[in-house]
């Protein structure tokens, strides 16, 4: 029966203008129109019935499972499927309808397929665009508006109304719409732009402020574009976006940026940011001022471009260490020398800059100029040194005084005690003689001490430029009898024009003492020879006096030679005061004295006169 029906329908089906296929309940093709074969790019083979699935093989959007569902369904269903072949891509739309017999029993399925070709792709694209547009609109708060020139009708979309905070049934007109803009710049601007787009069709997109229905000020981005047909503007389509938060955030960022820049720029500290290769990527005003240049000159430079190699290397090593260890270097004292040689002391901190992975990509540096502080510290240290020396001298002097005065007073006490107990007149006389000499000794001591005190207290010394040879001549004249008696031979190689900065009286005292010492402690077997020399040193004049006398055992007496009441030879005239006094005089003039000596050969005393006058 089935075959009879098939034969009967054959001719009709073949000739159908729409591609149609008849499928039985076992999914075998019963009959197919020629057009169907064409669409599915197959050839008819009636004697070899095929499963319908075979034809849909490789079609996108249509799996065998889906197909089976459609084939056994009780209702009409449509499916779109894509066929890729050598000729290209084509889209088909197949409709599946159940095939009933007279008794309403399902016999199979009728499939009708049409070629929907490229249209579908466009439809899909449009749909996608619509979806995208809607999504974007929702996400970005973008609304739209449209103005029909002919009808002068302005319409707002839902979003635009929301932005204006007007009810959904609100119907705007142009002048009302413009009224929403904030008075002043925004309203003027939009009026002008709207006028321009009407007249010239000029598109716009502007950030402006509106005041909403509820009185709230908002930043919006309003855009407009003329829709033309044959050169004539028909409509204006526009966008309307709420950008209030964005603008406020931007403003805030700008404000905090400005705050930061102002802060960094005006800090009285050199601030710089370096990248991984120690190139400067940010510098503040103080840093520019320090290097006497502009930020543009400094950006991209390393310390090697700005400083000497040694200094740059030290700095680079610090940078590397900070970036390697990720430990900030805080408050380190550093010394920097500019190319012109001027030295600056800094208190420097370097803090590593970390990226999101915790790796250092540079560092922030801060340097505070502490040169003044350093100088003050140095001055203070010098002052402390001077004070310490003075203090030591004072203690020393106090001991000398106490010892010397005590020894005399002890003698007085002892002698007076004797005198009281003594009965013999002769012995009494002797003790009185002793007392008188003790009294003389005390006076001598007091005089000596006075001389020393004079030097030490004479702080406002009047140093003058004194001709050294003239001073020597004067001393020689005063000593002429003494020198002649001892047959002293003097060699003087000092230039007649040489001047030294000295207190004139001290200079003569120094020459006198050294010269008399040279003779006093002469070698008994030799004629005394004295050589006077002077040389210019970087900071002053070194004057030396060399003798061929007894010499002094410096290993034994070195530390005592300039001490008070220290004598080292069996000499009746030795008071142990001369060298002590001249040492004080020399030091009072900021100079110093040294001695070099060897026993039985002679001694060299060298006096240094400081050149600079304060």
């Amino acid at each position: 029966m089935k075959s009879t029906q098939t034969d009967l329908n054959n001719s009709i089906l073949h000739q159908l203008p729409f591609a149609t296929a008849l499928v039985d309940s076992s999914f075998n093709l019963i009959d197919v129109s020629h057009t169907w074969y064409q669409l599915f790019q197959a050839t008819p083979d009636v004697n070899n019935p095929k499963q319908v699935f075979k034809f849909f093989e490789g079609h996108e959007g249509c799996t065998p499972e889906l197909l089976e569902q459609y084939l056994i369904g009780n209702d009409i269903r449509t499916i779109r499927h894509k066929v890729s072949s050598k000729e290209g891509i084509s889209w088909l739309e197949s409709t599946f309808a159940p095939w009933f017999d007279d008794d309403k029993n399902i016999q199979g399925t009728i499939i009708q397929t049409i070629d929907i070709g490229r249209q579908t792709q466009k439809d899909i694209e449009l749909e996608q665009t619509k979806e995208l547009f809607q999504a974007t609109t929702e996400i970005n708060n973008i609304g739209s508006w449209e103005y029909n020139i002919e009808t002068e009708k302005l319409s707002w979309c839902k979003m635009t109304k929301q932005i204006h905070e007007v009810p959904e049934d609100y119907e705007p007109n142009v002048s009302e719409a413009i009224e929403f803009y904030k008075q002043g710049y925004s309203r003027n601007k939009i009026s002008m732009l709207f006028h321009k787009i009407l007249q010239e069709g000029a598109s716009f997109n502007e950030r402006l402020q509106i005041v909403t229905q509820k009185g709230e000020e908002k930043w919006v981005a309003a855009g407009g574009k003329a829709i033309k047909k044959e050169g004539k503007t028909l409509k204006i389509f526009g966008t309307f976006q709420d950008i209030n938060q964005q603008v406020i955030a931007e403003k805030r960022t700008k404000e905090s940026e400005r705050l930061l820049t102002t802060l960094i720029d005006n800090l009285p500290i050199n601030v710089f940011i370096k990248d991984k290769d120690s190139r400067k990527i940010l510098v503040n005003k103080a840093e520019c001022n320090y290097l006497d240049t502009s930020p543009n000159e400094l950006i991209g430079k390393t310390d090697f471009d700005l400083y000497d190699n040694d200094i740059a290397k030290t700095s680079r090593d610090e940078d590397l260490e900070v970036m390697r260890s990720l430990t900030p270097m805080l408050g380190e004292e550093t010394i920097n020398a500019r190319k012109d040689g001027s030295i600056t002391h800094f208190l420097t901190s370097k803090i590593p800059l970390l990226d999101l992975d915790g790796k250092a990509y540079g560092l922030i540096g801060m340097s505070m100029d502490i040169t003044n502080l350093k100088q003050k510290e140095e001055q203070l240290r010098n002052l402390i040194n001077v004070t310490a020396i003075q203090n030591k001298k004072l203690i020393n002097f106090a001991h000398i005084v106490s010892h010397n005065l005590r020894s005399h007073s002890a003698n007085f006490s002892m002698l007076l005690d004797f005198l009281i107990k003594e009965k013999e007149p002769e012995e009494k006389e002797r003790i009185l003689g002793m007392l008188s000499s003790a009294s003389d000794n005390l006076l001598d001591t007091l005089e000596n001490l006075n001389e020393v005190v004079d030097i030490s207290t004479n702080v406002n010394l009047d140093k003058k430029s004194v001709n050294l040879n003239k001073s020597i001549e004067r001393v020689q004249q005063n000593l002429s009898a003494f020198l002649e008696k001892n047959k002293v031979q003097i060699t003087n190689t000092i230039d007649d024009s040489l001047q030294v900065k000295s207190v004139p009286a001290y200079l003569e005292s120094i020459i006198l003492n050294l010269m008399t010492n040279a003779v006093k402690y002469r070698h008994p077997m030799r004629v005394p020879e004295i050589t006077l020399e002077a040389s210019k040193e970087p900071k002053g004049i070194a004057f030396s006096i060399t003798d061929n006398g007894l010499g002094i055992d410096l290993d034994r007496y070195g530390d005592k030679i300039f001490g008070m009441y220290k004598t080292f030879h069996n000499n009746k005239d030795a008071r142990g005061l001369g060298l002590y006094i001249i040492k004080n005089q020399i030091e009072a003039m900021d100079g110093y004295i040294t001695v070099d000596s060897s026993i039985n050969k002679g001694s060299v005393f060298k006096v240094f006169f400081y050149e600079e006058n304060e």
Partner: protein, 137 residues
């Protein structure tokens, strides 16, 4: 009166020497009271006496501040001398510097001899300045 063979006074101040001599005369019978102006002269004398087997002084009065060789330097040298008998050394000074006292104490502790410390002025020679035998035994 106590009898003694020899006493040294080492001091560069003639008045102190005079005073000590005078006080000694009152308390001891001694023929050889010798005075030296500095430590060097005294140490030279001691070396000579040892060489010539002359009996050494039983007591030495020693000043600290002296030229050429001071009291401390004398003590350093003195301790090196080969002396078997204990000698009483009276260190005499007008100094009230505590460091002098400490130095004396250091010497006293390392010294085989008897060391006394006397501050000037001296009005009297104490028995301990001349004899320590009774106390030692």
């Amino acid at each position: 009166m106590k009898k003694m063979n020899s006493i040294f006074i080492v001091d560069d101040d003639p008045i102190t020497v005079f005073g000590i001599q005078k006080m000694l005369k009152a308390s001891v019978a001694c023929e050889n009271i010798l005075a030296f102006h500095n430590g060097k002269l005294a140490i030279d004398q001691l070396r000579q006496d040892i060489e010539n087997s002359i009996p050494l002084p039983e007591v030495i009065f020693l000043d600290i501040n002296m030229p050429i060789m001071d009291g401390w330097e004398f003590l350093e040298e003195f301790l090196k001398l080969p002396i078997e008998d204990k000698i009483i050394i009276n260190v005499i000074t007008s100094s009230i510097d505590p460091s002098d006292y400490h130095k004396w104490n250091e010497f006293r502790l390392k010294c085989f001899h008897y060391l006394n410390f006397k501050n000037k002025p001296i009005f009297k020679i104490e028995t301990t300045d001349l004899s320590r035998i009774n106390l030692a035994s």
